[in-house]
């Protein structure tokens, strides 16, 4: 037990070197921090800031190419950098517990959840089977899993994402560690689940270790999460500490420019004043669109999955319509139906005045230029084997442009999305995520669409990059008078960008309305829950 004022974890001027030839010399450079029992330190930063490297250094799980030192990591008075591999193994689980981002990959898919928790106890204690079984059951109750006996016997794939993360948390805290390391534990979860998990971590922190509260090192990129749970905040950028202070100081009176920029880039939950409503006929319209997947089991019995029911949407020129919802709400299915990447089973889709549901692929092709789509994952939305130029010109050439015309148009598009013209000769792997998303937008614009569908187009990006892409979308919309259908799970982004918002839940539209009205006075119960779950309402 550490004495009164001694911190549980003390990191002093820690460096972690990157292998030679990397873009910088250190993944982590001169980081110092301390966490006391019962406190939560949030480490915030964008991708590549070194925050996860620092956490893995504490766990002693650094990749072989990464060399820690100089500096020190002291856990309850014991230096971790000098500890043997064997000692570190004993400490992990017993003195420090870890929760990772993706609960599916953190769990072994061929072991029951109960056995996986039990394994920890077998490693670290000399308890008998009966006592271990009781401990497992008890911890499952503590992490508030329904029907703990059933959960013990379940395999990870039989649980939901939130339940899986609870199992991972149960494994992290069952030995009552002094330090709990959480590396983006809620990033892969829906907002409502995220809220529950954050609350659970807080509660566990309070009653762990027999009255002795544990320290939490919480890695996140989400300022909203920081506002929810942090006591202290460390902001990292390019491996260095930019700012370190209490939550209120960092969030309300940031000193460093980078912190200010980061906070400014977080979209506000309060929608801006409404723009004048656009006039004219809808450019893209879905009427009672439905999509049902059917599968037959080995007896030939049909099983239907209603991914989408009765969804009606209309997008006018110059207007931005948002579709928000959690995973599995059918929002992406709706987007794909509207772009006719999948065939709706019910309803009708109009591109302008053309009915497109019954058209075959070849009849559809001449109309395809009207509606274009931008996808979520910038790493996979461009063909890695073709130059950016070839990818961008493909659409224009498909719609009859000659090659010189397409080259000229591509150059103009590069200017529009603020990338140098010589980008056209390069390959996608030579660009960052944000730049690739710009390229994907340029490609969609190349065939002069009337409506752009953005399917989670900024969800994989850092907030600062996200802000740039959103600004770009707004600007392009103003310039070209595009209709924009924006699908997102992020209520903040929707608040800032959309004129109207449609809320989807379990394949159905539950509510829709002008953004300001909907955020101020949500009618449907689910919308209210969704809005309440958005972390960090005060920023």
């Amino acid at each position: 037990m550490s004495a009164g004022a001694a911190p549980v974890l003390l990191i002093d001027r820690l460096h972690v070197a990157l292998p030679p030839g990397s873009d910088r010399a250190h993944a982590v450079e001169n980081i110092s921090l301390s966490i006391h029992a019962g406190k939560t330190l949030c480490v915030v930063g964008e991708s590549g800031s070194g925050k996860s490297v620092m956490a893995t250094a504490v766990m002693g799980l650094l990749a072989r190419e990464l060399l820690p030192g100089p500096g020190s990591i002291v856990l309850q008075g014991e230096s971790l950098l000098d500890a043997s591999a064997q000692r570190l193994r004993a400490l992990r689980g017993q003195a420090m517990g870890m929760v990772f981002q993706e609960p599916m990959t953190a769990l072994n898919p061929v072991m029951t959840c109960g056995d996986q928790i039990d394994e920890l106890l077998r490693q670290h204690t000399d308890w008998g089977a009966k006592r271990r079984g009781e401990a497992v059951l008890q911890i499952l109750q503590r992490v508030k899993l329904p029907e703990p006996e059933r959960m013990m016997r379940s395999y990870p794939h039989q649980l939901s994402g939130g339940q899986r993360q609870r199992i991972v948390i149960a494994m992290a805290v069952i030995l009552q560690p002094a330090l709990l390391i959480c590396d983006e534990p809620t990033t892969a979860l829906d907002v409502t689940t995220q809220k529950e998990i954050l609350r659970l971590i807080e509660e566990l922190q309070a009653d762990l270790s027999g009255g002795h509260r544990c320290a939490v090192l919480f890695i996140t990129h989400d300022m909203g999460v920081v506002a929810e749970i942090a006591d202290e905040v460390l902001v990292m950028h390019q491996g260095r500490a930019v700012e370190y202070g209490t939550r209120d100081a960092v969030l309300n009176a940031p000193q460093a420019d980078y912190t200010k920029m980061l906070l400014a880039a977080v979209p506000s939950m309060t929608p801006p004043p409404a723009r004048p409503a656009p006039q004219g006929a809808p450019l893209l319209r879905g009427v009672k669109v439905g999509k049902t997947y059917s599968a037959r089991d080995w007896l030939g019995r049909q099983r239907l999955t209603h991914a989408l029911k009765d969804a009606s949407v209309a997008v006018l020129g110059g207007e931005t319509v948002g579709i928000v919802g959690e995973s599995g709400s059918g929002k992406s299915t709706l987007a794909r139906c509207l772009v006719r990447l999948i065939d709706p089973t019910l309803g009708q889709v109009f591109w302008g005045d053309a009915k497109v549901c019954q058209l075959g692929e070849s009849a559809l092709r001449p109309l395809r230029s009207r509606v274009q789509i931008v996808f979520q994952d910038p790493n996979r939305s461009l063909n890695p084997r073709r130059t950016v130029g070839d990818s961008i010109m493909e659409g224009a050439i498909n719609f009859g442009a000659t090659r010189p015309e397409a080259v000229r148009a591509a150059a103009h598009l590069m200017h529009q999305v603020r990338l140098p013209i010589d980008s056209l000769q390069r390959y996608p792997s030579q660009f960052s995520g944000g730049q690739r998303q710009r390229l994907a937008i340029a490609r969609a614009l190349a065939c002069k669409p009337q409506v752009l569908v953005a399917d989670e187009a900024v969800s994989a990006l850092d907030v600062s990059v996200q802000a740039q892409i959103l600004a770009l979308l707004r600007e392009i919309q103003a310039e070209l008078g595009l209709g924009l259908l924006f699908i997102t799970h992020d209520l903040r982004v929707a608040a800032q960008l959309c004129d109207r918002v449609i809320v989807m839940h379990q394949g159905q539209i539950v509510e829709e309305g002008p953004t300001a009205a909907l955020y101020a006075h949500p009618q449907h119960d689910y919308t209210r829950r969704l809005l309440a779950a958005a972390p960090g309402a005060e920023i």
């Binding site: 190419e65 092709r365 996808f375 996979r380 939305s381 461009l382 063909n383 498909n398 969609a444």
Partner: protein, 295 residues
């Protein structure tokens, strides 16, 4: 083109790849330069030299009757043919069979695999046919095909390639099934790119790396299968020397003159090994699943 330079650098750092390329390079040179490496007509028989010992010197009577000075590095067989010449010319045949078979199997397999992976209706029919084909042992199928078509270079190539096609088809099909769901393929569909162009431009290049690797394994097994066919007397006729038929003819007097079997084997084994190592090296570098983690 920097991409290619980087790739070559990474390949060259792989020792399996270097060994494979080195051995195959030597074999290719030997095959190409066979006429100037002190060989005689591989089909010519000189009754004066029946079963001459390895390393012996003498004069060899060519087909037109002229005598040339000749060293029998590997001796002569029971028809008085020079084994060294036969083995070197046999290298040509073996490498040709390997290259053609790999090309045919990969080409046809890739085409069928892409169709099966992209079009559901084709998939159901084609893959059942492929399953059927895979149920027949490869060597039996090859023997039956050569027997039916007659033994020529192209029939041997086809006979060896056909049993390989289902494997390649399955590989390509499984890759296409994942690739067709990739956002860049969906984007191409949204851009009204015609389906054949999508297959050719967006799907095939991204499936190429495992295909090349599979190609090397097909080539290695083609060398072996060709040797087996010839050894069983079903391969190319004796006037076209191959390692397999040299060994087959040497077999009858293996106990007295083991060299007739061992010398071609000395070429066959390293060839197969080199092609397989080349494939392993390519796979390690091209297939991210086997490469070390991290970027």
């Amino acid at each position: 083109m920097q991409v290619w330079k980087l790739l070559l650098q990474r390949l060259w750092r792989n020792s399996a790849f270097r060994f494979g390329v080195g051995v195959l390079g030597v074999l290719l040179l030997l095959a190409a330069l066979a006429p100037v490496l002190g060989t005689v007509d591989p089909a010519a028989m000189d009754s004066a030299h029946i079963n001459t010992a390895a390393g012996a010197r003498g004069e060899f009577a060519q087909l037109d009757g002229t005598l040339v000075k000749h060293t029998f590095w590997m001796g002569a067989d029971n028809f008085g043919r020079d084994i060294f010449s036969r083995v070197l010319y046999g290298t040509r045949t073996s490498l040709l069979v390997a290259a053609f078979t790999a090309t045919v199997a990969i080409g046809v397999g890739a085409l069928l695999g892409m169709l099966a992976g992209y079009f559901r209706l084709v998939d159901a029919v084609l893959m059942r046919f492929m399953d059927g084909l895979m149920a027949i042992p490869a060597i039996l199928l090859a023997i039956a095909l050569v027997a039916a078509l007659g033994a020529q270079l192209w029939t041997v190539v086809v006979a060896i390639a056909i049993p390989e096609i289902p494997r390649v088809t399955r590989l390509v099909r499984s890759m296409v099934l994942t690739l067709r769901e990739e956002p860049f393929v969906e984007a191409a569909r949204a851009l009204a790119t015609p389906t054949p162009v999508i297959l050719w431009r967006h799907i095939l290049p991204n499936a190429m790396a495992p295909l090349i690797v599979q190609g090397t394994f097909v080539a290695a097994s083609a060398v072996l299968t060709e040797a087996i066919l010839s050894f069983l007397g079903l391969g190319l006729p004796a006037d076209i020397p191959t390692w397999g038929n040299i060994m087959a003819e040497g077999r009858v007097q293996f106990t007295q003159y083991p060299g007739n079997v061992l010398f071609p084997a000395l070429f066959l084994v390293p060839t197969v090994l080199a092609i397989n190592l080349l494939g392993d090296g390519l796979r390690d570098v091209l297939d991210p699943k086997f490469s070390k983690r991290g970027r």
